[in-house]
């Protein structure tokens, strides 16, 4: 079940500590609610065109906003600030260590709006803030499966309980690939609409292998064997070999698995005796990469079978020097 995040207090914002905030004015209103994943630059909003200034969005003041306000005559500026702050915005972040003028702070204070000052330039400030907000507000879902990085591809191994997902993943880790999450992977949609998977903090780096119990992959294999998060590229579903079911024999099936409205390529892999799953998965990923770059082995085979060898006399006729006769 996907979850929509509710609003969050400005002061509780994840990643606030990484925005290089150096001063805070009107501090007592840091509990204002932010409920929009994108920060906003007011721009024309300061001139009185307020139609698109949305409540719940953090506002960013850069050199433009500061310069414009400073260029106004006192009365004019007072009117602009009053109209703007009357929208009850959750908070203003001023970039580039620009010091807010006393009348901005006073106008913001009358409408319970805190002003934070950041050392960062406007563009990196907005991109960092957006990344944190997106992750917080992103739609999230828990999936049953093991997420691994195999040759740079994010691969989710799914399948019924006890089919051998963790054992296969352990073999893959042993081959040098990275574990992101065992058994339960949490996915969220990032700002690029990519599905990013990560482990729940409680079970990060852990794997359950029947007979061994819970093991810590980081402790056993080192930090190169684990990753914090990874964008999902491919789902490989392990299932019991069913002789009646038709499996892809040519490699031309294009199946998809839907997560949070996105379609992710899916491969159904039957598990049977004598099948070395980790090797098959490794090859499946290599083949997936080749297919992505346009290589389709089954199409090359589909052209008519090559003609059998020409008769001996024809061969002679085309041989170089045969016209000498």
């Amino acid at each position: 079940m996907p979850k929509e995040a509710k609003g969050i207090q400005l002061g509780q914002l994840p990643g606030l500590s990484q925005l290089k905030i150096i001063r805070v004015f009107n501090e007592k209103w840091l509990d204002n609610q932010v409920n929009h994943p994108r920060p906003q630059r007011p721009g024309l909003g300061l001139t009185g065109y307020l139609n698109h200034i949305q409540e719940g969005r953090i506002q960013i003041f850069g050199r433009t906003e500061a310069g414009y306000l400073r260029s106004l005559k006192d009365a004019e500026r007072g009117r602009c600030l009053k109209n703007y702050f009357a929208l009850k915005l959750p908070g203003i972040i001023v970039s580039e260590s620009i010091t807010p003028e006393p009348d901005w702070i006073a106008a913001a204070g009358r409408y319970a709006t805190p002003i934070l000052v950041s050392e960062l330039h406007t563009a990196p400030l907005i991109s960092r803030l957006s990344a944190f907000l997106y992750q917080y507000f992103a739609r999230k879902i828990k999936m049953n499966g093991v997420l691994m990085d195999i040759m740079g591809q994010g691969v989710l191994l799914t399948g019924a309980s006890g089919i051998g997902k963790s054992e296969t993943a352990l073999e893959l880790v042993n081959k040098g690939y990275q574990l992101i999450a065992d058994d339960v992977t949490e996915f969220y949609l990032d700002s690029n609409d990519d599905l990013v998977g990560r482990a729940n903090e409680i079970i990060k780096n852990l794997m359950e292998v029947r007979g061994l119990g819970i093991i810590n992959i980081h402790d056993i294999f080192g930090s190169a064997a684990v990753l914090d998060e990874k964008t999902l590229d491919l789902v490989i579903n392990l299932e019991k070999w069913d002789p009646k079911k038709k499996y892809d024999r040519l490699g031309e099936d294009n199946l998809y698995f839907k997560i949070l409205g996105l379609e992710v390529p899916l491969i159904n892999l039957p598990v049977g005796p004598g099948r070395n799953l980790s090797t098959i998965i490794e090859v499946a990923v290599r083949n997936f990469v080749a297919k992505k770059s346009g290589r389709k082995t089954y199409l090359e085979l589909r052209s008519a079978p090559a003609p059998s060898l020409p008769a001996a006399n024809e061969t002679a006729a085309t041989e170089p020097g045969s016209e000498v006769s």
Binding site: K3, K142, N144, V184, N200, I203, I214
Partner: protein, 89 residues
């Protein structure tokens, strides 16, 4: 599909050992069994999944089962909760 609300009464809540007993029991049934807590739904057959719930004493979770032996599964798992995972005598 059937559901049952279940109170967590053992002191330690769904910690590792209780989660191990729970997932071991759930694996004996062919039905799909889920635990739902705080909008989170996890497979009861997955030990790590149960751990991610971080449910503790006094919390109420929902057991959900679907399959041919769903009745037996819910009853057996409910009893395990009621017995406080055999941890306290």
């Amino acid at each position: 599909m059937i559901e049952k609300k279940q109170q967590i009464t053992n002191k330690l809540g769904l910690h590792a050992r209780a989660a191990a007993k729970l997932s071991h029991l759930a694996n004996m049934f062919s039905a799909d069994i889920y635990l739902i807590y705080n909008d989170d739904k996890v497979n009861a057959k997955s030990l790590l999944g149960i751990l991610t719930l971080a449910a503790s004493v006094g919390n109420e979770i929902t057991l959900q089962a679907a399959g041919s032996d769903e009745q037996e599964a819910i009853r057996a798992i409910g009893e395990l909760f009621d017995r406080k995972f055999d941890e306290e005598s």
